[in-house]
């Protein structure tokens, strides 16, 4: 169902605020995966502010929906979302990456409330998500599992082991999302190791696939609606995104896979984000 104007406005305002929270967290952290954190954000905002059945006051609620951030380096973009949802105090983000902090680049399920699986080593999340989705089936529960992957992560063979199993077991309670920002650490995927045609590959592995603009809330929400309604098996959303989305000097720049921000860079990043949303 199409988003109402007020829903779209609310999601957009939330994304605006969280992009700035992410920049602030990257600045506090001394260095973070800013590019991927910004490319994945609109997907997380749609999930956390419209779709997920969760209770931040009871993070381990048995029948909650699960999110596996398989691209675990997106942690610096995930923790601000969890903080905003109320899983923990926002001030804790100031300790991100600091010695002894609960928050590192790759979030630890046993230290950060709201995280459903510890991830970081790429290619692991899909199998964990398949296990979760199978668990819901075994328990005859209707909660859903979302697995957010990177596109560079598609290089990992284990992703495809999981993809094969999800289709084999017809896991219609599993929704995969690829943050398709076209960059891995060393450069464009087409140069480093081409994963295209990604849609055809997943389709060949038995998934229903939809390609969308990963920064357009109407498209994101339409795709999630379609994925939830699809009952024949697992559903993959390939969200075409821009690495560093919202910060002009980061957008599409491989150098911003990971980096630190001084005061001036932070200010410029926040201004750039405000400019992007000023037009909306």
């Amino acid at each position: 169902m199409a988003l109402s104007e007020s829903e779209l406005k609310a999601l957009t305002e939330k994304a605006h605020q969280l992009r700035k929270d992410i920049i602030q967290t990257v600045a506090w952290s001394g260095g973070g995966h800013a590019g991927g954190a910004l490319s994945q954000l609109d997907i997380l905002v749609a999930l956390y502010y419209k779709y997920l059945n969760i209770d931040p006051s009871n993070p381990e609620k048995p029948d909650r929906d699960r999110v596996v951030l398989s691209k675990g380096h997106g942690g610096v973009g995930y923790a601000p979302v969890l903080a905003d949802k109320g899983y923990f105090k926002k001030e804790l983000l100031q300790t991100f990456n600091h010695t002894g902090s609960s928050f590192g680049m790759h979030l630890d399920k046993n230290k950060v409330p709201g995280v459903d699986a510890s991830t970081g080593s790429l290619g692991h999340g899909m199998s964990i998500a398949v296990g979760l989705a199978l668990g819901a089936k075994f328990a005859k529960k209707d909660w859903l599992t979302y697995c957010i992957m990177g596109d560079g992560e598609q290089h990992e063979g284990s992703i495809w082991e999981g993809a094969m199993a999800a289709a084999h077991y017809k896991l219609n309670n599993l929704i995969g999302i690829v943050d398709n920002n076209n960059l891995c650490i060393d450069g464009p995927l087409t140069e480093i190791m081409d994963v295209s045609p990604l849609d055809k590959k997943w389709e060949a592995f038995g998934w229903k696939v939809k390609i969308i603009n990963g920064h357009d809330f109407n498209e994101i929400c339409d795709a999630i609606d379609e994925a939830q309604a699809y009952k024949d098996g697992p559903f993959l959303i390939i969200a075409q995104t821009v690495k560093g989305k919202g910060v002009d000097y980061m957008e599409g720049a491989k150098e911003w896979h990971y980096g630190g921000l001084d005061g001036d860079m932070t200010r410029k990043a926040l201004e750039s984000i405000d400019r992007m949303y000023a037009g909306k």
Binding site: A117, S118, S127, V130, G131, L132
Partner: protein, 337 residues
Amino acid sequence: MAEGSVTWSIDDADHMTAAEIYGETLVQLGEEREDIVALTADLAKSTKIGKFEGRFPERFINVGIAEQNLFGIGAGLALAGFVPFISTFAVFASLRAGEQVRTDICYQNLDCKIIATHSGISFGQAGTTHHCTEDLAVMRSFANMTVIAPADGVETAKAVEASVDWKGPVYIRIGRGFEPWVHKDTNYNYEIGKGIEMRSGSDITVIACGTSVYAAVDAAEVLEKEDGLSVRVIDMHTIKPIDRDIIMKAVEETRRIVTFEDHNIIGGLGSAVGEVIVESGKGCAFKKVGIPDEYSIVGYPEDLYNHFKLDTDGVLETVREVMGKEFEEDEDWEDEI
């Protein structure tokens, strides 16, 4: 699990491999606990986890030949509240999927129970690709992991039962087939982390795990008869957490320790025992026997155990060698750190 709760008898066990007993035990546990699920990677028959599939097909997952996926899915099922029993060959569990076991299961401290078969050189003719003389070292270095090498089928059943309510991940490594039984009945107290004195003795202590326990007990009887030696034998079924008390008692009372394991001499039982002794500051004669940091040869398992001095003859030879060495007994035990 109540003592003696297994449904098969010791007479049945004579005709069953450790893996078959594992399969039977798992079915029994599945009857009692609905949260137990079972997974394998195209080795349902070989690992005997298929017995569970026969009884509870709705709680069984076969992922095909994809071990990384096997352990990742196991982690996901544990996160969903189940207690997964996961079986494949030891070499695939510890090496092919080592990172999934470490990062997905151990790091998250999940209740996954890994029952790895065909460990050590027990797969004889299959050769080094299917042997696994590294798993104890690998698994022992994963924080949160409990590592067990049962002596025989009876002990496998006890270890599997004990693992269900043992918090966190457990790795149980068993052999392939018809290794002889060393425990003559099922009525003995099994506790994870507590070694078992199979035989008392005061001249030397043999500490063994897995199939080597049988060879140690067998050899100890010969050594008593032929050499007049009093040989203590410890079944150290749990490699981690290691039973420090039973080791230090043996060091103090026998002053000579020999370890036997179907594993590389680096990183397994011998290393674990040696670490305890060295850190104690108490000196003693010490020798580790296992695969001497080389790749295994091909052959019948019994020939390989003979080649690597892990059978009765090997234990006899090693114990006689250690007993024959000059060793300065230190009577002033208390002066050490």
